[in-house]
Symmetry: C2
């Protein structure tokens, strides 16, 4: 790329996603100067040490001053406060986006707190790991993943240009971009992300509390399936608390369906209806094949985690 | 190993686990001649092609003739029939084991159908992948995993020697061996394996059926968490149907706990009790750290599935 999509980028909040956006944008040459604001002193010190930002501050208004792109990368319920703090510094004509896992509530929080002269284009990269903090990010996180943008209902040319610019930015970072209505996003993600996290958190909690089985036994024999669930149940607690509280309606709706289906499955077990079980278990196999065919999953058994050789590092290079 | 633990081994059923036992025993020099019985003609042809057995037959009694170790590796509800078919060929003094995920029901099925002159030591290697069939097995599957043996309540020296021999065999295959009461095994595994599989099957089914969200969307945006669940929901349908039907009581018990906890979580979301959510989500993180510390899980983000380089094969070598 001969010229960055944005000459100046500001990132507010520099955890797993914020730091990955910076690293990926740097690697792709998609952003020029990068300023970071982070509320945590420890994070700021670490970001300065890692050296991937040109400026690090505690003040969002200072970080966004002069920025062509502002990326809010804080937990969903912190978006409103972060936007309010940044507002005095946001320049007219700047593109403002976020990376929150919930879109309708976040879009509202941004619009309520930012000047009308900027272009707000909420976004959500469907990518992540169970780790958090400024050390957790890496430049390849968005490669071949989807980023959903949920533009406002406005059709003026400058706003359309802002949407196109942000699409170009995410494409440069390796993502596939899709536009979507924010309510629909929140329902789709309730199924593909929020419910799975809720279930994982719940099952890990249930297992830890069960009398008759020790926590040591749970850990020792976890290779039978349980350990898969612990990965997503190790995700950032603050962010996930916020997701559940800000996408409450869609999550309770899909959770209701899940519970209904689970009752039916429970009844099939109680009454030894083997055919019903077999039919479901055969159907679910096909879904995984579809995800692998869609390039969103590794085809290797056990996610390939048994394939690592001594030469393959066990953790991401920092 | 200078001398095999068993001069002649027979394996009844040659899917993922059966074929892995053979490959691992061959690699470790833990078994001499290996005979296989499999009910599927396609499997038998493939086993002959792969060439890892000395003899392949459809008849369990023929396969077990003269064997010092007999390993039943068929789904739990097929164990009784397989044992009945093999019984005429089982030699006096042979050690007989299995690899079933449920122990009390399988132990009963084996004891009811085999001659009293053999030593039945039921077993369960806590290892596997979501794949199945004679091509899915590999020699390293049991490395650093646990194998639980659930010996009968008898204290005579010949039986103790059989338990010791089988422990030596599994240790040679790379496993850590633990002895346990079969009822306790079934409760522990209901938590660490059976419930996770049930939940995964259920959530994948719920997602596939949800109106308002297409199956294409579910697959496309699965990297948000859902794809993790599809791995175990791609496991062998026959085997898992059998697990749920033969360990019904323990599974319904832990499922009841899970549902109770899920209702409480649902209520906390509805009433916006953020502190309760945060407390649970912080606690579950620790469990994963314990599993990694216990050597039962990769510490790499996303199970390391993003770490693969072009030189790393995407599937197991056959």
């Amino acid at each position: 790329m001969s010229q960055p999509v944005y000459a100046r980028m500001a990132v507010i909040g520099c955890g797993l996603i914020g730091s990955s956006v910076i690293r990926a944008a740097r690697a792709a040459g998609a952003a020029g100067a990068v300023a970071v604001a982070d509320a945590s002193e420890a994070h700021r010190a670490r970001i300065a040490e890692l050296g991937y930002a040109d400026a690090v501050t505690a003040d969002p208004a200072e970080a966004v001053a002069g920025a062509d792109l502002v990326v809010f990368a804080v937990p969903p319920m912190a978006m409103g406060d972060a936007a309010r703090a940044a507002a005095p510094g946001v320049k007219a004509g700047a593109t403002v986006t976020d990376v929150g896992s919930v879109k309708a509530a976040v879009a509202q929080a941004l619009a309520a707190n930012l000047p009308e002269t900027c272009f707000i284009v909420p976004g959500h990269p469907i990518a992540g790991t169970e780790q958090s903090g400024p050390d957790a990010g890496f430049a390849e996180l968005f490669q071949n993943r989807w980023t959903i943008l949920t533009p406002q209902a406005r059709t003026d040319a400058p706003y359309q240009a802002a949407v196109e610019g942000l699409t170009e930015f995410w494409t440069a970072l390796g993502a596939n971009v899709e536009l979507m209505d924010d309510r629909h996003h929140d329902l789709v993600l309730a199924v593909t992300s929020h419910l799975p996290h809720l279930i994982a958190y719940n099952i890990v909690g249930t297992a830890a509390d069960l009398e008759g089985v020790t926590q040591g036994e749970v850990m020792k024999y976890s290779a039978g399936g349980f350990r898969d669930f612990t990965r997503i149940a190790a995700s950032d607690p603050t962010m996930w608390r916020d997701v559940f509280l800000t996408n409450k309606d869609a999550i309770l709706e899909v959770l209701g369906r899940f519970t209904e289906d689970l009752q039916a499955l429970s009844r099939a077990i109680r009454w030894a209806e083997g055919d019903k079980l077999f039919e479901l278990f055969s159907r679910t196999r096909e879904i995984r094949r579809g995800i692998i065919a869609a390039g969103q999953e590794s085809a290797a058994p056990n996610f390939g985690r048994d394939l690592r050789t001594p030469e393959t590092p066990d953790t991401k290079p920092q």
